[in-house]
Symmetry: C2
Subunit: 348 residues, 2 copies
């Protein structure tokens, strides 16, 4: 499944939208549950089955939602599931695939709806660039459409009720995927992270494990969902992201005034390695693309565009790669094929 | 001085000659002293002056030697001296430049004669590839020519007398500059070095300091000069070098059968870095060229030739670089200009 989809990066990686030199994408998800039904983890097989039926029914009644595609998690093999996670259409939690877990992939692939994940419904919308408002609008419309046919668990005091109390209230998590090579190179990133945490936002490396951040890509998202309006969350994340972009731009300016040669060298070496290496890990591709993205943002690299960089970023992920080449590969083979793909994309 | 000479690599780096895939060059030098004169370190200014006169006189009488160019060490600035050392025409000892130290550069630049170095005369000949015999023949002819006009200090029992007893006898040091990436990558180099030492030969890294060998380039030379004929020294060095070449070739075969992908990757990354870097140290150029030389030797790199690699090797040395661009540069500027030169040579 998804071989055709894997030929191109997701639409939210188009490189378009506001501040797309620094912000790759914006995402909003809303957690919803159907009133008077136990949360998925407490629901038995039958209950989960009827939840899915209710949702499918509601989707059928929506002009826009019914143009999407429903896939049952049980029909997906492990590679399909990893592909959906790389695509940001499904969560890791979703790929555990318990009874009647299903995913609706929106027509334009910038929205999705998970059923019977941690909550009964997880509505999600993605947009390229710093476009939190746009993503929220899309998610909000889906939510409106669904609430026409479904009664959501809602408490006048608490707001939307969710399986995990950290989501209660708006049920909303808004986030941006942001590229911060300047702050990473000047080693100011830790300071920025700790400042942001005080504002009720969370910053974490988007790829890599523990303190190992790959590709200088960070995710910034709201911590609290309760006691604030959706509008408030969007506005606050937008404002803080603008602030981070400014910090990042200042860091880049400082880097270029203090160590232009080394930075240019770093950027061009990354280019040379991607263009010639015969074996590349995901981590290395992310790190080299980080340098090239910085090169494009600062006008040093003119022969490549952000959409091209995003395409390489997307297609070189392990599941994408296997879908793209339509075969299962072990990590060693993937590294070789990845290098091949990257070379061909840089030639073309 | 030497700006014109610095436009091209030395003739002994032409990439020609036997086994030039592995052996860059062969060199033979003969130490000679004029009879009944104190060695240079013991000679006063007047004595050193007359030694130089005697030698200049002898050179004038030789059909071939007089076509060379004499330069007085005192006329050379520091950069000129470093250039001559990089060119393998003069020794570090020579560049200390005491009274009446002078250098005769042979017409084709594959021979030289140092006067008032450690010994009164140091005759030297270089040849590309594994051509010790050829180098010896050239040095021997120079020696013959000079001995027609000069009486050398010679003892019937010991042979030629020299300032340092380690040179007494033949006064001959024969050496090859050899590239051993296979043995370095398989970590067998230490074993080979210790075996060779038992055969009366010395192996040492040619560039770099201490145990840090740059570019996997080693020099193999004879340890003993006494109690053996010149023919014997040449024959033995030639035989052992052939043996090392065989070890190296076996190591390369093993590497390619066990880790072809990694080796190819290493070679192409080196290519990518040289082709794109904006700043390159001498050490890195040597190391990257080592991988590329291996790539050419194994048929992986087809777009570059050994003479091209040798040209980059020669011209990217610090003094060559400054002579080539006709200006003094600090190390940081050299690294930038070196990267520029390497890029232009790889484009062209």
């Amino acid at each position: 499944m998804f071989e055709e989809m894997a030929r191109k990066p997701a639409v939210w990686l188009s490189g378009e939208g506001s501040d797309s030199q620094v912000v790759l994408s914006s995402r909003v998800r809303l957690a919803r549950n159907i009133a008077d039904s136990p949360f998925p983890s407490r629901a038995d097989t039958d209950r989960r089955g009827s939840i899915l039926s209710f949702v499918k029914n509601a989707v059928e009644k929506s002009e826009s939602l019914r143009r999407g595609t429903f896939v049952d998690c049980a029909e997906l093999d492990e590679l399909d599931r990893s592909f959906l996670v790389e695509r940001h259409l499904a969560s890791i939690e979703f790929t555990r695939c318990r009874d009647s877990s299903a995913l609706l992939i929106g027509e334009k692939e910038n929205t999705s709806l998970m059923v019977n994940e941690e909550d009964h419904l997880r509505v999600q919308a993605l947009s390229s660039g710093l476009e939190i408002r746009k993503a929220f609008k899309m998610a909000d419309e889906m939510d409106e459409d669904l609430s026409g046919s479904l009664e959501f668990a809602f408490d006048p005091t608490f707001g939307y009720l969710t399986a995990c109390p950290t989501n209660t209230g708006t049920g909303m998590r808004a986030s941006v995927l942001i590229h911060l090579p300047g702050l990473a190179l000047t080693r100011e990133i830790e300071k920025v992270i700790s400042q942001i945490s005080k504002l009720g936002l969370v910053v974490r490396g988007f790829y890599g494990e523990g303190s190992d951040v790959w590709g200088n890509l960070f995710q910034v998202s709201n911590q609290t969902t309760l006691g604030r309006s959706e509008e408030d969350i969007v506005e606050s994340l937008e404002r803080v992201t603008q602030q981070i972009i400014e910090y990042e731009e200042n860091a880049r300016k400082r880097l270029f005034s203090e160590a232009e040669d080394q930075i240019e060298d770093k950027i061009w070496r990354a280019f040379g390695i991607l263009k010639h290496a015969r074996t590349l890990t995901s981590e290395e591709v992310l790190n080299m693309l980080s340098a090239i993205r910085l090169g494009i943002g600062t006008g040093i690299v003119k022969t490549l565009s952000l959409p091209q960089v995003n395409e390489i970023l997307a297609l070189s992920q392990p599941a994408h790669l296997q879908k793209y080449f339509k075969k299962r590969m072990d990590p060693g083979e993937r590294d070789r094929v990845r290098a091949e793909l990257v070379r061909s994309k840089l030639e073309g």
